[in-house]
Structures are given as C-alpha cells and as structure tokens.
Symmetry: D2
Amino acid sequence: MTQPPHDPHAGHGTMVPRTKEEIENIVKRLKRIEGQVRGVQKMVEDNRYCIDILVQISAIQAALRQVGMQLLERHANHCVAKAIREGSGEESLRELMNVIKQFSK
Amino acid sequence: MTQPPHDPHAGHGTMVPRTKEEIENIVKRLKRIEGQVRGVQKMVEDNRYCIDILVQISAIQAALRQVGMQLLERHANHCVAKAIREGSGEESLRELMNVIKQFSK
Amino acid sequence: MTQPPHDPHAGHGTMVPRTKEEIENIVKRLKRIEGQVRGVQKMVEDNRYCIDILVQISAIQAALRQVGMQLLERHANHCVAKAIREGSGEESLRELMNVIKQFSK
Amino acid sequence: MTQPPHDPHAGHGTMVPRTKEEIENIVKRLKRIEGQVRGVQKMVEDNRYCIDILVQISAIQAALRQVGMQLLERHANHCVAKAIREGSGEESLRELMNVIKQFSK
C-alpha cells in the first residue's frame, strides 16, 4: 500500500474512506453544533439566564454524543471490520478500545 | 412582576449578572470549543482517520462538560444563593434540580 | 468527635426524616441491586460469557443511577427546601452542589 | 460447533475462559460492591443523612464502572482477539459494539 507522502491518515489503521454523502451528513451535524456553540456565546454576552444557557449546553452535549457514537459505530462496522478481514484486526481493535476508554472518562 | 419588554431573562428566577471578566472568560472557552468543532469538520472533509476524529470529539465533550459545570456552580453559588436570601430560594432550587436532571440523561 | 450515640446525622445539614414507606421503597430497590450484584458474581464464577455479564453490569448501573437520582431529588425537595425555609439554605445548597460534582466525575 | 447441552455460553461468541486468579479478583471486587450496597441499605434504614448516602452511592457507581471496564477490556483483548484470529471476528465485534452502546445510554 504505497501512499502519497501527505496522506492524512498515514501510519494509522485501516480506513474505509467516507463517501460524499457520509461527509455531508456528518458536516451538517457538526455545523449545527457549531451554530449552537455560537448561540451560547451570544447568550452569555447578553447576560441571558444561566439555566437557559445550561439547557443549551446540555443539548449540545447530547448532539455531540450522538455524532460521536455515529462515527464510532461506522468506524467499527466499516474500518475495523475491513481490518479484521485483511489481517490487522487486532491492531484496529486495540485502537478502538483505547478511544472507548477515552470516552468513558 | 412588570419587566421591560426586552429583558433577557424575563419570567426567570433570580440572577446575579455576569461581570465583564466572567463573560470574557466563558466566551473565550466557548470560542475555543467552536474552533475545535470547526476543526473536526475539516478532519471529516479531509477523510482523516476516524480514531483521530473521535479523540477530538472526546476532547470537545470534556471541554463542554467543564464549562457547563463552571456555569452551574456559578449559578448555584451566586444566583440561587441570592434567591435564598431574598425569599425565592425554593423556586430557584427547583429550576436547578431540573437542569441537573437534564444533564444526567 | 463525641456524638450523642443515636443521633444518626449529627453535625449535618437539615434533614426531613424518611417515612417508613420511603425507607421500605428504597431498601427494596437496594436489595434488588444487591441481588443483581450477587448474580454477577455467580456468572463470573460459572465462566459465563463476558458480554452477558457486561449487560448485567450495565443494568445494575442504570438501577443505581435511578435510586441515586431519587434520593437526590427527595433530598432537594424536602431537606434543602426545609433548610431554605429555616435559614440554613446556603449551607445545604453548598453540600448539594458538592455531591452533584462528585456524581459528575 | 457442537457444544455440550449445558455449556454456559452456548450460542455465544468466542470466549477465553477466565483463570482461577481472574475469577477470584473479579469476585473479590464484586463482593466489596455487594457489601457497599448492603451498607447503603443500613444507612437508609438508620435514617442517615441523605448526602452521606449519596456519596456512598457515587462510590459504588465508580467501583462498578471500574469492574465493568476491566471486564470489557479483558473481553476485547482476549475473547474478541481470539475470535479475530479464528475467523469470527466481525461477529464478536458486533456484540462488543452493542454492549458498548448499552453502556453509553
């Protein structure tokens, strides 16, 4: 697998590239989250009531958790599954477990 | 309770307005989070490796949790404490517990 | 720390004692959780499949979270509310926030 | 895969049986958790202060999370890794992801 020198995931595990549709779907969700974070900045600057701000932050956390879980599952089902079929499954599994531990902190 | 029409927290509980320093501190943290979310969008578009993206998302979650906890504590120590002193403590406490339940979901 | 022998919460904040019904309800839930933990021990000893054990542990965590939230809400609605009415609300609020921070770790 | 009729994990994925030491270590942790749950029952019956009970519950949750994570990692490193080597890795991975989703709820 000769890769171009500036390959963005050189040195990393097996990856099934995202399709255009997948990228658009995830970026759309992230843009919405970005907008929510900006909205919270405005609320803070406008001295809006703390509870209303906290409700917004809790909504952003839920949205981030959801997009994180979506990416995690997609990675497992596509990339790790491919690694398993191609003989580097144990390495991909180790990476997966490390990131899951990161999330559980 | 007749309040001016554009009062930012009309109909809400007692609030000790944020100082300029408090606002700057929180907005700075939120801008950093916004930048991190934008960074993740770029990583997704560049088809960067899933695990690297997930590590970033986990960092954003930690940063959001931290700013949320900071706002929650400040609200309790300042606004709810003031409400208690001024006779509307039980109402402020109910609001506080509702938002805490929201977070624990 | 010489305390009157049977004052169960000497040195602590305001508390509305649990009724007989409340005690029975909570103890019943805790006994069920205790039974679930014992069940998991048996599963481990019988070399039962890890995934089945993990599903059980996840169920115990959910049950504990529920009983914890029930106690937290009851404490806020009864004990902290009483402290607010009796003039020690700020102290009770501080205690409440400390335990909430403990849970969010 | 003809298995004896009372095999404890019939119909399940690959499993590397726990050693005697592993069983003892996990059971010891679970017995401690069981004791903590019983201690909380006693605290509730004795009408002990809510905050003290909540601190205990938070400690039990942390202990359960730890033993859960220990079992999850051991399952990934031993059982799923073995399944990968033996050709049923994708199935084991699916099970693993399902239980991880269960925990993240």
